[in-house]
Symmetry: D2
Subunit: 263 residues, 4 copies
């Protein structure tokens, strides 16, 4: 029995930045976008409205990803009531400020893991069986430099992202041969988004001026890279890549000063 419904693109963490712009891009490309986020029903409605105004289709859904059963219920509901999930974006951050170890309470460290690692595991656990049955599926995972190096003040964030990265690798190892493509995207730089603008407040203009042209990631541009990843045929998959503004030298070049290397 053929499923004649539109393929679904599920975004966990669909705000005004990467998540929302990917929803718009994939909707423009023919997917029905299911936009899940924790709160802000108005923002969700606006996103859905913008997608529909552009000729696409979308559904907004409130989701507390840290809550047991929440992701599982959403996946089940989509598959039953909306359409087959052909692609998904796990876009939840796990950074909760920059904190010394002393100022990182156990519950913050645990929350980082719940959003950063466990939620991704739960999404794969709930979503992959149907993808395996269909022999196809894509899971895009927004990640951060903290997944490949751990900086001071990043205990919760880096542990969560390090777990996320290794999980992407185990998922690829098990599911790529079964037709599911997992791509781990290491973002290294600021992304223009409502939360960043809100965080910076009055300082936004100065920040943007200091960064200059090409210094802040445009989420609409980044969405094209996500789209490209989801478009790669099975003979040519990318499992990991980095993205950054050109003026941010790669993280491995943070300190261009030469080592004094005298032997």
């Amino acid at each position: 029995m053929t499923d004649n419904r539109k393929p679904v693109f599920l975004v966990i963490g669909a705000g005004g930045g990467i998540g929302g712009h990917c929803a718009m891009r994939f909707a423009a490309g023919g997917y029905h976008a299911v936009c899940a986020r924790r709160s802000d029903a108005d923002g969700l409605g606006e996103l859905v409205g913008r997608i529909e105004a552009a000729g696409g289709t979308a559904t907004g859904s409130l989701l507390n990803a840290a809550e047991d059963g929440s992701i599982e219920e959403l996946v089940e509901r989509i598959e039953r009531d909306i359409g087959p999930i052909h692609a998904a974006l796990y876009n939840l951050g796990a950074q909760i400020g920059n904190r010394t170890l002393e100022n990182t309470p156990h519950r913050i460290f645990e929350l980082g893991w719940r959003l950063g690692t466990f939620g991704l595991f739960r999404l794969a656990h709930a979503m992959f069986p149907a993808m395996v049955a269909r022999g196809t599926g894509t899971m895009l995972v927004t990640s951060a430099t903290a997944a490949v190096r751990g900086n001071a003040g990043q205990h919760s964030h880096a542990a969560a992202m390090g777990g996320r990265r290794m999980l992407c690798q185990t998922l690829n190892a098990e599911f790529a041969p079964q037709g599911i493509h997992v791509a781990h995207v290491v973002i290294d730089g600021p992304v223009d988004s409502p939360p960043l603008r809100k965080l910076l407040g009055d300082r936004w203009e100065g920040f943007a001026a200091a960064k200059g042209t090409g210094g802040i990631i445009d989420p609409a541009v980044l969405a094209e890279t996500y789209w490209h990843l989801a478009s790669q045929p099975k003979n040519c998959w990318t499992h990991e890549l980095d993205v950054r503004p050109h003026s941010d030298v790669p993280w491995w070049n943070d300190n261009p000063a030469p080592e004094i290397d005298a032997r």
Copy 2:
């Protein structure tokens, strides 16, 4: 006020393999070994007895590291009643068999994190303030190849170890300048130990014969490397290293077949 008590070497996960042999090695080197493990009071007593028979001192302690407050209470009790913790070994594994995603229940994934990542965070959180106050301390961390690559069937293990590795990096970034040395040891190969012998049962002899001389890590030998790490002066610290039997080619050489590289 000087603390005239013996420096303590705390082992979380002190069985008959790496943990127990490190306890013996550090006790021989002048530390009072505190050997913590989940169960098997007899095995613990035997380990303590062996250390004392060799002229050292040790204390056995039952510990359920997954339980809230357990590590914290132990650290507090040692500092108060036994001596200052100058070195510690976090030796808990997080591998719970080889399981497909489907056969990895949520509680297994969570347990992997509790033992693999969260317990290490809790140990550092509880133990580092006194080390910082003293300006010195060492935390050795037994890890696995799963911390640097994620294989099929290793979802829980790799996610836990990936988090462990990034956490070691954030801890080093924050605490190395304050005098605390964290070393992440990537073990890539079988370690001769009671659980391995028990697991293999009748097959042990054949396994050992197949591996040949130098094919199985001797935990007494490995303990020398841990001891060396703890002996490095502040001007020359190692933060990460691998260890493996010579007959196990490094994990990046699992497949020595040449790629067909035709362009």
Copy 3:
């Protein structure tokens, strides 16, 4: 003074695989393709002919990249006579069979470096000043798994590719802020191409059947990923990514057998 000539896409190593297909893709996208290869003038003519038949423009050029001055002369000639090089692909391999150390003569090791590392340095050295003056440019670099792990029998290849990868990083560190985008593409799997088919001869059919659908990289598909990289705006650049057939688990998963992790 504006340069009204078509932007040039230069391919060093333009055969029937990745290089040729990228030439076609970039020509279709509006570039004038300059296709350089060591020999086989006929193959070159055929490639140029195919590009022109598709409505594009191209120039074929014989090039011995290992020869001093060859790349330098080509770059100078293109900038003077053909057009500004806005994008380039360094596509020379450095694999000269699978050889034990004993069977790797000095000259083979040196040749690997000349083609694998030094040629890339020479291309950047010759080509970047004009790109810097224009404030824009892209250099795509085909690489291999050998750049990130060294396997048995790959002494020459891995050393050359390891140098290539680090060079890409230093080039990015210095030139990304000046507007030049260097992307290092780690190919991990067989690519359908005339040399591979020739190498396998009668065994090609069996090889392809064993690999199955999606088991061999289609260079026309891969060219889309190269095109995407060259299309990324300055605020969102990728510096490294992997590509592989879905049925080839990532190289870090070559050995899915669980470690025996008994402590």
Copy 4:
């Protein structure tokens, strides 16, 4: 026929820093040290004298490692006239200042490769057959952060070190099962040595004061880590490790500022 001669420890690059201190350490441990360096016969004589004064034995040898046949001749001469090479240290740097691409002439880039990569290949090529025949051997390789990341101004150095690292991996893959241990030591920080003191001149005191206690690697201390590596039994080998002063956060922590991670 048993070889009753003392085992030889060969140092390529035996100056007053890492190389010289390793020569002293290995001589103290029972090896006959062969100290090779490019020039400065006086410094060589002094090093040999110091080793002999401490009760050890040593031979000084002038060597231009960049010259064809030089390393090969030395290895042959040692095996014939002095003793079996059981351990060696390849300690040649490849850093020739910090240079922009424009200021890196072809010959500098090539020299970096000759000393950084090719010389190591030549040493292994010449030395390993006898080690394989004896079933044992150790090759220690001093390396740098440039082997794992490429910074601005490091084109020659990073390309050479990246090749060095991959070569160490291919050598391990082929020779570890045959009993030869290759260890790649990533030095990340200043090493107290005559060239560094000479380079800094009057600024040395200020530099040392700024670095503080534990801020500069003491080569005598580092030599203990090299000694430990060479002492690891076959069942427990380390192939790669980092060393750095405690006050130098690991290279992956150069920039402790949190990423702004707003999605």
